[in-house]
């Protein structure tokens, strides 16, 4: 039988070259989605194959890799991807945002400020911000070519007319370097401001849709909005029940079936770091009870 033998970081060198060339063009054209010949990976499409291919193409022996899903290093998919690289590339892994040189993420940007020695790799399901307004690739490609983003503004405006607000809570579209409208992946809009003028390089990989895009460091990233309806990040108005943080994005934990809830940091490394530094939340207090008008 043709017993499989795999290369460092799984991908063969020819595939890595192809992805590396796409990454360079992506950096040179911030926010533009570079088509690439995404490979079939040993994990399902939609489960991070784009991010995994980008990570595999950049990862070296000196790197320290962190993988998060929903902000946590301990979610099953994050564990699975981290193990994949530990096994195929033998790289050091960490849960510490600070110690990592490459961070692969699904749906969150870490709370700690990233530095210039780091690369943040996003897993992206649908890279095209205009896709839900126009399903045809041929059409959306034309719109990007002409920087014709009226459709997006109409959509946001219709939200305001119907709901009084822009009704997009995650994957909130941004404009990169005043040119391309870009999908930030399904991160909560709370994270959008972190993309702007970030010291780290941000790379985005969409495996099934075969696109790679990038935000170079120190690049302007603006969340789309209107003067009279400015962009507002959303965060549940409570301190983290574990570390007391007032400025972190929170997971809602259902504690019983009688309206009991508690709110804790979604970024587990951030939360644990704060707890280790002596910060405390209201752990011992009774879990938060939902009542009218108390949510933010």
């Amino acid at each position: 039988m043709n017993a499989p033998a795999y290369n460092f970081a799984y991908l063969d060198e020819q595939t890595k070259r192809m992805i590396r060339r796409a990454i360079l063009k992506a950096i040179a054209i911030p926010g533009y989605q570079v088509p690439f010949a995404s490979r079939e990976m040993p994990m399902p499409y939609g489960w991070g194959t784009g991010g995994v291919q980008v990570t595999a193409a950049i990862l070296g022996l000196d790197d320290v890799l962190k993988v998060i899903d929903q902000g946590s290093d301990d979610t099953t998919n994050a564990i699975s991807i981290r193990k994949f690289f530990a096994k195929t590339a033998g790289v050091a892994t960490t849960t510490s945002t600070h110690d990592a040189t490459v961070i692969q993420t699904r749906h969150r940007i870490p709370e700690a400020e990233l530095n210039a020695n780091q690369v943040l790799v996003y897993q992206v399901p649908i890279p095209e911000p205009l896709r839900f307004l126009e399903p045809r690739e041929t059409e959306t490609r034309r719109m990007h070519a002409l920087a014709e983003y009226g459709l997006m503004h109409v959509k946001l405006y219709e939200d305001i007319a119907r709901f009084g607000h822009i009704a997009t809570a995650y994957a909130y579209p941004v404009k990169v370097n005043a040119r391309y409208v870009m999908d930030p992946s399904p991160t909560p809009k709370f994270d959008n401001p972190k993309m702007d003028n970030c010291a780290a390089l941000q790379l985005f990989g969409a495996g099934r849709e075969k696109r790679i895009y990038a935000i170079p460091p120190y690049t302007q990233v603006v969340s789309l909005d209107f003067e009279d309806h400015p962009f507002e990040p959303y965060r549940f108005n409570a301190p983290c029940a574990l570390c007391g943080a007032e400025n972190s994005y929170l997971d809602e934990i259902v504690t019983d079936d009688k309206g009991g809830r508690m709110f804790v940091c979604s970024d587990t490394d951030y939360c644990e770091g704060r707890q280790a530094a002596g910060h405390h939340g209201s752990l011992s207090a009774a879990p938060y009870k939902e009542k009218a008008g108390s949510h933010g």
Partner: protein
């Protein structure tokens, strides 16, 4: 005639050297004006700098049409080395080249002759790899744009002298344009199409 056995070698460790070289080029592209070092050394044919040789081994293959300037193209050893180690097809037509290797900056063809991409596919453009004299001293330039925290300063001895004036056409062309990689021995600096370069003091 050079036989394959007599050609300068490629990377000793193809996988890890390509990775390390790529990271230097990626960092250069992400941080325009910053000088990155290429550590892993491959052998290089006479007309080629070590950094340029490493970049070629890292990024070129059968799928990347390559244009060589006259000085490079006339070296049979260099052409054979590239073909043997990368397989990249050498083309005469600048407008279909994925990469262009230039050792003689003074004879750089007009930039608009290279592939500039289209508005639909701006990535289908030539990446220019230009060998220059120095990237540690010489004239000073101020760089602004994505990847740069405010202003970056680049010092270099670069030919052609009007390179950055010529490159200014990127501004009007965007998102089309030319991305440039400068190499001086093992030092690499990238100037992607978004970077605005001005002579310091001018």
């Amino acid at each position: 005639m050079t036989t394959i056995a007599e050609l300068p070698p490629g990377f000793a460790d193809k996988v890890l050297s390509a990775q390390s070289t790529f990271r230097s080029v990626m960092d250069a592209m992400a941080r325009p004006g910053s000088v990155q070092r290429i550590v892993p050394m491959a052998g290089a044919p006479a007309a080629m700098m070590r950094g340029a040789a490493a970049i070629a081994l890292t990024l070129f293959d059968h799928d990347t049409p390559l244009w060589l300037d006259a000085r490079m193209a006339e070296s049979a050893e260099l052409v054979k080395w590239l073909k043997f180690h990368t397989g990249a097809p050498v083309v005469q037509d600048t407008s279909i080249a994925s990469f262009a290797l230039i050792s003689d900056g003074a004879a750089l063809p007009p930039l608009e002759r290279f592939a500039l991409g289209t508005n639909e596919y701006p990535d289908r453009s030539t990446t220019l790899i230009l060998q220059v004299d120095r990237l540690d001293s010489g004239r000073s330039f101020e760089l602004r744009g994505p990847g740069i925290d405010g202003v970056a300063t680049l010092q270099g001895s670069i030919k052609p002298f009007d390179l950055f004036e010529r490159l200014r056409f990127n501004e009007a062309l965007f998102p089309r344009g030319i991305d440039l990689v400068l190499v001086a021995d093992d030092a690499v600096v990238a100037i992607p199409r978004t970077t605005r370069v001005a002579s310091k003091g001018s």
